[in-house]
């Protein structure tokens, strides 16, 4: 189904959607554009690339896994409960980019794929719709086309919006999204609209420099012990900025907070932190930052593809942009092929 909506009607449309859904959209409250809860009057920002991906809508930075209460007198009273029940609320993620939507495929594969199932993720995923916006102005850190994606790639989106100057073309890719386009804000799209969108999307694609990652996976295995990693990780600070802003990074920590009454919480964790793999004995399989950087790149371009036949990098470039020392994964991956 293809419809169009005037640009000035977007806020009204969101208001209507807000009555039945919790909306995550890119806002710019204090300088940094981030996905946050929708509120009329908050400065919606559909132009700038959000600092972090909307993975928080499915995979919050903090989540209670269960509550516990130790039985004081009678130990058989010790109770594990899910007081903070996995909430069932319809959600819409609005204004994500195609790379963000594609990043969800990694989460789907891990948390609701063929292995163990994560109910917390699944519940949110099943009740969330994704409305993405095609990019017409890729950033100089974007490389979606090099990793099998594109600025208007509809994969993972329920509705894809394409800007046509004073209006948006809205195309649905799932049956459940069709109802969202039923309102009076929308009129049918014409052939002209469709062509204009196609041309604009193609023009955006042409702006991107594409490089090949075909031989990367094999090469990574070959150069595992190489000094290459020492060189590339020299400037890395071992912080978590790259992983936390990444749309496909899903590593997490589980910690107990509270003493005799409390909760086990899941929080984001980063494979770049030195403590990530630190064992109680003091042994650490990845004690140095070159080991950790090597693991991160290998995971995205070798290990994950080996297990799941898809890359775990969508080319959004946030890791490059937010790295305080500008570690550039494109440079690393291209360099791997030349070692």
């Amino acid at each position: 189904m293809s419809k169009v909506i005037a640009v000035e009607k977007i806020d009204d449309w969101l208001d209507t959607l807000n009555e039945t859904h919790r909306i995550f959209a890119p806002f710019k409250p204090g300088g940094a554009t981030r996905f946050e809860g929708y509120q009329r009057g908050k400065e919606l920002d559909l132009e700038r690339f959000a600092v972090s991906s909307p993975k928080e809508a499915f995979f919050p930075a903090t989540e209670t896994i269960f509550n516990f209460k130790l039985g004081k007198e009678n130990v058989s009273e010790t109770v594990v409960s899910l007081e903070s029940q996995v909430k069932n609320q319809n959600q819409i993620v609005f204004g994500a980019r195609c790379c963000d939507a594609k990043g969800l495929a990694t989460f789907d594969t891990v948390f609701s794929g063929s292995g163990y199932q994560d109910p917390y993720f699944k519940k949110k995923r099943n009740t969330t719709l994704l409305i993405t916006i095609a990019c017409h102005q890729p950033a100089n850190t974007c490389f979606c086309t090099s990793v099998g994606g594109g600025p208007a790639d509809p994969k993972g989106a329920d509705i894809l919006l394409t800007s046509l100057d004073d209006k948006y073309l809205a195309q649905t890719f799932s049956t459940k999204a069709k109802t969202l386009l039923a309102g009076s804000f929308f009129t049918d799209a014409t052939q002209k609209d469709l062509k204009e969108a196609k041309d604009k999307n193609e023009a955006a694609r042409q702006k991107l420099k594409t490089f090949s990652v075909e031989r990367v996976s094999q090469k990574l295995t070959k150069i595992f012990e190489s000094e290459y990693w020492n060189e590339k990780a020299a400037k890395c600070l071992s912080c978590g900025a790259c992983t936390y802003t990444c749309p496909t990074c899903y590593c997490f920590n589980l910690t107990d907070e509270g003493k005799s009454t409390g909760e086990r919480v899941r929080t984001w964790d980063s494979c770049m932190f030195p403590q990530f793999t630190l064992e109680a004995s003091g042994h650490n399989p990845r004690p140095k930052k070159d080991h950790r950087l090597r693991n991160r790149v290998n995971h995205k371009f070798s290990y994950f593809p080996t297990q799941h036949r898809m890359l775990s990098c969508v080319g959004c470039g946030r890791c490059i942009r937010h790295c305080p020392v500008s570690v550039d994964i494109r440079e690393i991956v291209r360099g791997v092929q030349e070692v």
């Binding site: 300088g31 940094a32 981030r34 102005q137 936390y244 004690p287 020392v325 550039d328």
Partner: protein, 345 residues
């Protein structure tokens, strides 16, 4: 006199670069590698460069965007799990503000003076990319040049121009140390805008703290609560700071002692930044890297400057100036000059 130093900027910067390359090449005979700046993924983002040979040195750059405080790599020398081998000698390119960090690390005994060589370079201020971000889509900047007191950007094939004073780092506008305070070699220059530029450039370094202090307590509390709700706890601020060398044992992430919950609500985030500010009080040399590194634009420098202002008032101490001094919160005096502990009447 006002316009002149800025007009000369570009030429001087190019001359400095040639001199810098020479100094770095000569230093290579005394150290295992030198850390400088190289071109990054775009003109606005230089990246640290590890120079091990004359060939590597050709990639060095020096321009109005070379902001990284390279002193942050110094504590790695002694740290396990750091990249450098303990016996390696390091060379470092430092600006005035960076040199304060080097001095502070010497005060704290974290680095040994004989293990590194400093190539100091005089600086006339750097452009704050975050200030540009508020004006243009920096992710599509094609070119950036300083010309006659302005920065000229090319974005989406269109030109944009801004006066330099609007886009330089605030710390540069009130810079007191344009020439490094410690060095083995110096790539000189005339110094900062502060002494020679227009009067309005010479702002009080704690000007922003004083403005903020004028707000009421509740307003300030609301501000910080709002700001910290964005914190991701990525620890980029901590990991780029030269003085957070306890990175691997930081109490933000330990369980023994378990001071901080891993939950990322504003309350917990605020606690993290509070205790980091306390740990840095009187030690932070106000390089502002924490604020630059933050992906969600938290105004961290304001917090750390406030603590430093307080330390300055109480102890008359300023960090990173004299290697022979010790930060007041690390040493103990039975009697403090400005703190009245006991009243005998």
């Amino acid at each position: 006199m006002a316009g002149k130093p800025i007009e000369m900027r570009n030429k001087k910067t190019k001359e400095q670069l040639e001199n810098l390359k020479t100094q770095v090449e000569e230093t290579l005979s005394q150290v295992d590698f030198v850390i400088g700046y190289a071109k990054g993924y775009d003109v606005l983002h230089p990246t640290p460069l590890f120079v091990r040979s004359t060939k590597d040195a050709q990639a060095l750059i020096w321009d109005d965007f070379c902001i990284n405080n390279l002193a942050t790599y110094l504590p790695s020398q002694k740290r396990p799990g750091g990249l450098f081998h303990p016996h390696e000698k390091i060379g470092l390119v430092v600006k005035g503000c960076d040199s304060r960090a080097v001095i502070q690390l010497l005060q704290e005994g974290i680095i040994d003076r004989e293990n590194f060589k400093i190539i100091g370079i005089s600086c006339q201020g750097k452009v704050d990319v975050k200030k540009l971000k508020n004006r243009v889509p920096i992710e599509r900047v094609e070119n950036a040049e300083i010309k006659e007191g302005s920065i000229e950007l090319t974005v989406d094939s269109r030109g944009q121009k801004y006066p330099l004073e609007e886009v330089l780092y605030s710390k540069c506008l009130s810079c007191e140390y344009p020439t490094p305070l410690i060095y083995d070699r110096l790539v000189g220059g005339e110094g900062s805008l502060r002494s020679k530029g227009p009067k309005e450039f010479a702002q009080d370094p704690y000007h922003d703290v004083e403005e903020f202090e004028k707000k009421g307590v509740n307003e300030r509390l609301d501000f910080w609560e709002q700001e910290f709700s964005r914190c991701l706890r990525c620890y980029a601020c901590r990991d780029i700071c030269p003085f957070c060398y306890c990175q691997f044992e930081c109490i933000a992430q330990t369980r023994i002692p378990h001071w901080l919950s891993q939950k990322t609500a504003s309350k917990e985030n605020k606690f993290f930044h509070m205790f980091r500010a306390m740990h840095l009080a009187g030690r932070c040399t106000e390089c502002g890297e924490c604020e630059r590194a933050c992906p969600v634009d938290l105004p961290l420098l304001l917090l750390h400057k406030k603590m430093n202002k307080k330390v300055s008032e109480l102890f008359g101490y300023k960090s990173g100036i004299n290697p022979k001094l010790r930060p007041p919160l690390i040493i103990f005096q039975p009697e403090e000059k400005n703190i009245e502990e006991e009243k005998w009447e």
